[in-house]
Amino acid sequence: MSEPTKQATNAGPAAGAAGTEPEPLLRVTDLAKHFPITKGILKRRVGAVQAVDGLSFDVRPGETLGVVGESGCGKSTMGRLVTRLLEPTGGKVEFEGRDITHLSAGRMRPMRRDVQMIFQDPFGSLNPRHTVGGIVATPFRLQGVTPDGGVKKEVQRLLELVGLNPEHYNRYPHEFSGGQRQRIGIARALALKPKLVVADEPVSALDVSIQAQVVNLLDDLQDELGLTYVIIAHDLSVIRHVSDRIAVMYLGKIVELADRDALYSSPMHPYTKALLSAVPVPDPKRRGAKSERILLKGDVPSPISPPSGCRFHTRCWKATDVCATKEPPLLEIAPGHRTACHHPENAPDQQPQDTEKVLVTPGKPAPVPAQKKGGDEGTQEQKPAK
């Protein structure tokens, strides 16, 4: 159970692809969630937010799957779908081989023990009127279980496990700092000894020194308890640190899925490449290295009417005609490395016959600093290294 997947990954990027794929703990196929947009008192349906649109991925026992992407790309929606806090519009979610896509609340209850979620906001997710002891004991109440040795003893053990003082059992959330509150949320998630923990931005509300405490805690708990994680974050440095494999999302789709090292050393999707190049690096020697930076034009388009074909084509500097008409499938282009692009980076072109470049003309023209206009036929511009 507690197979240290991290070591396996460190042994070499190919290790994971060496034939013996373990049975996935979680398998997601074509998962979709469309939120209806309604109008008027009759709630006439006028459209839909395609928050998540056709996700397929596996989560292997003992691993950490990281999920990154920009605001609104559907990360939280994905997390709430796989933990069944939201009802999918389409697709399938299987846990340990069992289809849980449409389980009723009652049939889902025993499942809830195995799959838990940690939320982004350590302030909003804890009831201010309940004591810490009461909060951490909630899952026992909901499930109607009494742990060995009694609830109080178990809660105190959990508090200790996450690095809190068990004496603080009777205190209230407001008496704790952000990092401590996040620990309380983690203790609650671990109460029923889950197999899978989905953590939605577990550290993004925390200061950097506290963030490191919580990252290390999640790491220790994984080793100790053999947990499997899906960790959602927008911070690419944090995601690299915690993940074994990483899924990159853009506008409701997975555009790339690969082992951590492969993703960071040779990203294949142009969006991943742009995202990585935009991360500010804490090294003043590289100041002005903006020459290596890919500046994407404009904003992420609306998920209500996403672009045709490849959803990234309105901002992609490699876009050709086919990109605007044909959606690229998520294909395994190198061992264990999937990407959805007709013209991937660091890999052979998938649509070599199609070479006609299209002009990038997004619905809203892209804002670009004035003096840079007119470069490179109006497409995305990659400045030469100096």
């Binding site: 920009e70 020194s209 506290i210 190049s277 991360v279 500010p280 804490p282 930076r293």
Partner: protein, 377 residues
């Protein structure tokens, strides 16, 4: 709250500030502010901003000093609650509550602001100095079009007719990269995306070519690709107009991208200050070591484990005695005689222009840095 201790600390710190001024610039001896002010565009001396609250006196900023020349960028870093925003609002003269107690000196281009007439500070704001905030909606009024607000900001300080002002506003929107600026001029803030609102606020802040721009977490709410666009924009505009920029952030990556000088704040005080190279490459304070060790780095080999700072930031009502960092500092017992817990360490120069507030001797720090810290970063 005893007034005496306050005064005592103030004198001590003022002498520290004077000392470091002297060390840096022997010509600036004596009238620390004035002489400095003539050469530096912005000089802050022993700034203290305390708030009277029902729970007690909050010492949000407690003796901060720094200088900034035209064309330079100073990064102020620190965790949330360390006093960054209060400092920036203080420089802009925006603490108007009568519960705010402000002391020290702020010299802007040779003019002292704390003692200055409120009307004069209002004139300078928006004209000689401008500010951009983390949340553009707090700076943009929801009921007026983006264009009208920029026009207004321009006309407050310039005797321009409507047409000229409008032309100028469109020009600014174009300059910050808003597409179809003449059309978007008529949009309301909510019709802009987050990144565009940030650009619009920058356009408004820059419409009068301010010589000092203070940016308080301007990219914290933005996605990394948009953040890269905005940082790029600030850098280009600074180059063009030669303004002095104060960039406030909790993100060490952002600061390394843009700042040539750095000031690290902890519990309302400056604990380290120097060029970006000095502070990032050879940090001289245990808290800065902690910040760097806490941070996963995308530009380095993957490390197995982060090195967090233990504990949590202190309350600014009950700031720990002596060195405010001592309850979290792994080296608190290195300096002798418990001095770390009883005496506030002064900001002392370690190498040319690099200052640190720590009781450890330079040799002690050097040893820890080379043996314990540097290998792990």
């Amino acid at each position: 709250m005893s007034d005496d201790t306050h005064k005592d600390a103030a004198t001590k710190d003022a002498s520290a500030a004077a000392k470091d001024t002297a060390a840096k610039d022997s010509a600036g001896k004596g009238a620390a502010g004035k002489a400095e002010g003539a050469r530096e565009f912005l000089s802050v001396r022993d700034l203290r901003i305390h708030f009277d609250t029902d729970d007690g006196l909050v010492k949000s900023v407690d003796g901060v000093s720094f200088d900034l020349k035209a064309g330079q960028t100073l990064g102020i870093v620190g965790e949330s609650g360390s006093g960054k925003s209060v400092t920036s609002l203080g420089i802009m003269g925006l603490h108007t509550s009568d519960r705010a107690r402000i002391s020290g000196e702020i010299w802007l281009d040779g003019e002292e602001l704390i003692g200055a007439d409120k009307q004069r500070v209002r004139e300078l704001r928006g004209q000689k100095m401008a500010m951009i905030f983390q949340d553009p909606l707090s700076a943009l009024h929801p009921y007026y079009t983006v264009g009208a607000q920029i026009v207004e900001a321009y006309r407050v300080h310039n005797k321009a007719d409507k047409k000229t002002a409008r032309k100028r506003a469109v020009e600014m929107l174009d300059r910050v990269g808003i597409p179809e600026p003449a059309r978007r001029f008529n949009d309301f803030p909510h019709q802009f995306s987050g990144g565009m609102r940030q650009r619009a606020m920058i356009a408004m802040a820059l419409v009068n070519n301010p010589q000092l721009l203070i940016a308080d977490e301007p990219t914290t709410a933005l996605d990394v690709t948009v953040q890269a666009q905005i940082l790029d924009l600030i850098r280009d505009l600074q180059k063009e107009f030669g303004s002095a920029v104060v960039m406030i952030t909790h993100d060490l990556g952002v600061v390394a991208e843009i700042a040539d000088r750095l000031l690290v704040m902890y519990a309302g005080r400056c604990i380290e200050r120097g060029t970006s190279e000095q502070v990032f490459e050879h940090p001289q304070h245990p808290y800065t070591w902690g910040l760097l060790g806490s941070m996963p780095r995308i530009d380095r080999e993957q490390t197995d484990r982060l090195v967090p700072v233990k504990g949590a930031p202190p309350s600014l009502i009950n700031v720990p005695s002596g060195c405010a960092f001592h309850p979290r500092c792994p080296y608190a017992d290195v300096p002798p005689d418990n001095v770390t817990r009883t005496e506030r360490p002064e900001l002392r120069e370690t190498t040319g222009g690099h200052f640190s507030a720590c009781h450890m001797t330079r040799e002690q720090r050097e040893k820890i840095w080379t043996e314990e810290i540097a290998p792990k970063l």
